[in-house]
């Protein structure tokens, strides 16, 4: 009786609250569990959380101009952007251009400004060179004399914009937008527009690859799940075989097969379907990217599908038929709906992997088969515009998270089966 009363109030027999007692009893096991996951936690932090945080920071970080031309940036702070800036700004810029020319940092500043506005590099170098001879002000007239662009407020607006320590220009550039002189977001001039096309192409290729994988993978998974054990094991090995081969080997094989003088074209010419001049271009373009990516990503579709199909009881198809459904109806209305979790998981997996795919498009994509990752790589390795690369990466990450969220809303992530 006494014990019953005590437990009702959450207190043990010796008067200690039940919760405290429980916490004390499980403390050692919790500490041990935490110690066990610590290495993993550290690994994830170092290899995953920190790089992503760094990427997100770099995508808005913009230290170059504010550190190279600090006085100019400060002078432009007050400028309303309506007319030309006042003499103080001209003087500050003239002084700092000369200084940067002397300490050999002018090129860095010019390059950064040139990202934002074409022609800035030559303007800066030219002006710095000529300003050497201008000893005293007023600098305004002198600089407009050197180049009339100094008389245009767009030039100054660009400097003011790039002078900001933290900026969204990379994100805007990543979707072919920029700030105009009045601070409005406008579309890039035609010649500088590329990313919208690339984003579109990336989405389109990913959708197509997902669709092809589904079309090819569904029957394979069905066979895997329904064939007798011996045949299905063999089939499974054939599905997994590409997994065990190096990505490069597989991609190179496609080059051997698909190129103009490759195996397939040779056979088609030999059979007489194609003339020797009419060889089809199947690689170094979008077709190549599609074919190679579909083949490489197929297992990502087959395995989740298979694991779902394996759990579908064969008697449900029989039941449907005994209830009067012909085999086709039974398949469409009874079997296929039960595979939805697998279709969802496989498609999500393939789509997300293809959106960020790099190596295959780089090798077989030519110029029309390049995806957004290839541009990220380009900005990291060649143009060294890390800010833009980081912004593109962040947009990609946001897109993937959005897809995941959408999937969760529509299908429910709990319904997903990955094997």
């Amino acid at each position: 009786m006494a014990i019953a009363d005590a437990t009702v109030q959450g207190i043990t027999v010796d008067g200690v609250p039940l919760k405290d007692k429980l916490r004390r009893a499980t403390r050692t096991s919790r500490v041990r569990a935490f110690l066990l996951v610590t290495p993993l936690l550290l690994f994830i932090t170092v290899s995953f959380v920190l790089p992503i945080a760094d990427m997100l920071f770099r995508s808005v970080d913009n230290p170059r101009i504010s550190s190279l031309l600090p006085e100019t940036v400060a002078a432009l702070e007050q400028w309303d952007g309506k007319k030309l800036p006042d003499e103080a700004a001209f003087a500050a810029l003239a002084k700092e251009l000369k200084l940067r020319r002397e300490d050999r940092n002018l090129g860095k500043a010019a390059t950064r400004l040139n990202y934002e506005r074409g022609g800035m590099r030559s303007l800066i170098t030219k002006s710095a060179r000529k300003l050497k001879r201008v000893e005293r002000g007023p600098y305004k007239e002198a600089m407009v004399e050197i180049d009339e662009k100094w008389g245009q407020r767009e030039t100054w607006a660009a400097i003011k914009l790039i002078g900001k320590r933290y900026t969204l220009v990379h994100y805007l550039a990543g979707v072919d937008r920029r700030f105009d002189a009045d601070g409005n977001v406008v579309t890039q001039p035609e010649v500088r527009r590329i990313y919208i096309t690339i984003w579109g192409r990336t989405l389109w290729v990913s959708l197509l690859v997902t669709a092809f994988c589904l079309l090819l993978g569904y029957p394979i998974a069905y066979l895997l799940a329904t064939l007798p054990l011996r045949q299905s094991n063999l089939l499974m090995i054939m599905v997994l075989l590409p997994f065990w081969t190096s990505l490069l080997v597989r991609t190179t094989t496609w080059i051997v097969l698909l190129q103009s003088n490759g195996v397939i074209n040779d056979i088609l010419v030999w059979v007489g379907i194609l003339s020797d001049e009419g060889r089809i271009r199947m690689i170094y373009n979008m077709t190549g990217t599609l074919i190679a990516m579909t083949q490489i990503l197929l297992p990502f579709m087959v395995l989740p599908l298979y694991s779902v199909m394996k759990t579908i009881s064969p008697s449900s198809m029989r039941a449907a038929q005994s209830l009067g459904a012909n085999p086709f109806t039974a398949f469409v209305r009874i079997y296929m709906p039960q595979t939805v979790p697998g279709v969802g998981a496989g498609s999500l997996l393939v789509f997300i992997v293809s959106v960020g795919y790099y190596i295959t498009p780089a090798l077989v994509g030519g110029s029309t088969g390049q995806l957004i990752s290839n541009f990220i790589a380009y900005h990291m390795k060649s143009s060294l515009n890390w800010g833009l690369a980081a912004a593109l990466g962040a947009i990609l990450l946001a897109g993937v998270l959005a897809i995941y969220w959408l999937y969760d809303r529509v299908v429910g992530i709990d319904n997903m089966k990955l094997g």
């Binding site: 449900s316 039941a319 005994s322 209830l323 012909n326 039960q338």
Partner: protein, 363 residues
């Protein structure tokens, strides 16, 4: 009722082999009348499911014909046979609600919406599941799933319903309740039901007739009482109910009866049911409740000395193990009637039985 020419379902010389080597069903001949409740009863692997699958059209017959309502159905695909089927694991469609599961056979028959709704409601009432329309199978208990499965097999008014161990997954109490309900539905609707089970109690309580199968052959096809009272061979006698067996040799024949020299000693008068003649070996079958302990003198021609080995108190009767005629596993059910002599372990007793209760069968 049985063995008429216008049988509703008819198996004619049906044979089935899966691997081309062994016959899983050997020369099956079976007539099932309209409205009958026929049970296929047999141990595991005896070919019961195979018979049902052939009837439902999921397995082709290797040889022979099956006719349904006078029509050969060998070449009719399953979905055109109009046979309801209840599967052992229910085979409900997990992605559909109860309502959708039940509506499925009606929709594929292109019935109007109103008709579908009416029928679904009626059949749900019949299995007493009103209010469960919008649950999914996973949200139902085993017994409820079972009822949905039965309802689904009945909702499109098939003339024939097949049930493959439909109660196998339920606990005993629920199983007995469902036996009663299925029987009730059968009586009300008048459908023909072919039922598969390996539970003899279930078969005895539910069926009009039972076909006992073993190794793909019908051992005996009879009503439950005939099957119990008059087993035709040793397998049936042992498979149905409890049975005492005494092995021996026939020494003389005498009209319907015969004398048997039991291996363990003693000469027993028995009814000659399934023996080849004088000199052949036989198994005597005796139901435990037909044996009397210390019968009055002269009541039975068969009376033997025995000794009580074990007593188990079971309330309404006392299971008494006796050693008699060299068999120390001879069971006698002693009714717990008032005034009955109390037995003790080790007592020497007399054991007796009538000729007609002792059947001489094959070995």
């Amino acid at each position: 009722m049985p063995e008429t020419n216008d049988a509703f379902v008819r198996f004619v010389d049906v044979q089935k082999s899966y691997d081309g080597e062994t016959l899983v069903v050997k020369n099956l001949n079976l007539d099932i009348a309209q409205g009958e409740f026929l049970t296929l009863l047999g141990p595991s692997g005896s070919g019961k499911t195979t018979c049902l699958l052939m009837l439902a059209g999921f397995e082709p017959t290797t040889h022979g014909n099956i006719t349904l309502d006078g029509r050969a159905i060998n070449n009719v695909p399953p979905h055109k046979r109009n046979i309801g089927m209840v599967f052992q694991n229910y085979a409900l469609f997990p992605h559909m609600t109860v309502q959708e599961n039940l509506a499925f056979p009606l929709e594929v028959r292109r019935m109007s919406k109103g008709e579908v709704e009416g029928r679904v409601r009626r059949v749900l009432d019949m299995v007493r599941l009103g209010g469960f329309e919008h649950r999914r199978p996973a949200q139902l208990s085993g017994g409820q799933q079972q009822r949905v499965a039965v309802a689904r097999a009945l909702v499109f008014d098939p003339k024939l319903v097949l049930m493959d161990e439909p109660l196998g997954a339920l606990d005993r109490q629920l199983r007995e309740q469902m036996q009663y309900e299925i029987k009730h539905i059968h009586d009300n609707l008048g459908v023909t039901i072919v039922y598969v089970t390996h539970d003899q109690g279930e078969a005895l309580t539910m069926s009009n007739r039972i076909a006992v199968l073993n190794h793909g052959e019908i051992q005996q096809l009879a009503t439950p009482d005939t099957l119990y009272e008059e087993p035709q061979n040793a397998f049936v006698a042992q498979f149905i109910g409890e049975n005492n067996k005494l092995l021996g040799r026939v020494t003389s024949m005498n009209g319907m009866n015969c004398s048997v020299e039991v291996d363990g000693g003693g000469k027993v008068e028995a009814r000659a049911v399934n023996i080849e003649g004088v000199g052949s070996r036989t198994m005597l079958s005796l139901r435990p409740e037909r044996v009397q302990i210390n019968p009055p003198d002269g009541q039975f021609p068969n009376v033997f000395e025995g000794r009580v080995e074990e007593l188990i108190y079971l309330g309404d009767h006392i299971r008494t193990r006796v050693s008699v005629c060299g068999d120390d596993d001879f069971i006698v059910k002693v009714p717990n009637a008032s005034g009955h002599a109390a037995l003790r372990k080790g007592d020497d007793v007399k054991v007796g039985w009538a000729i007609e209760d002792c059947r001489a069968l094959d070995v």
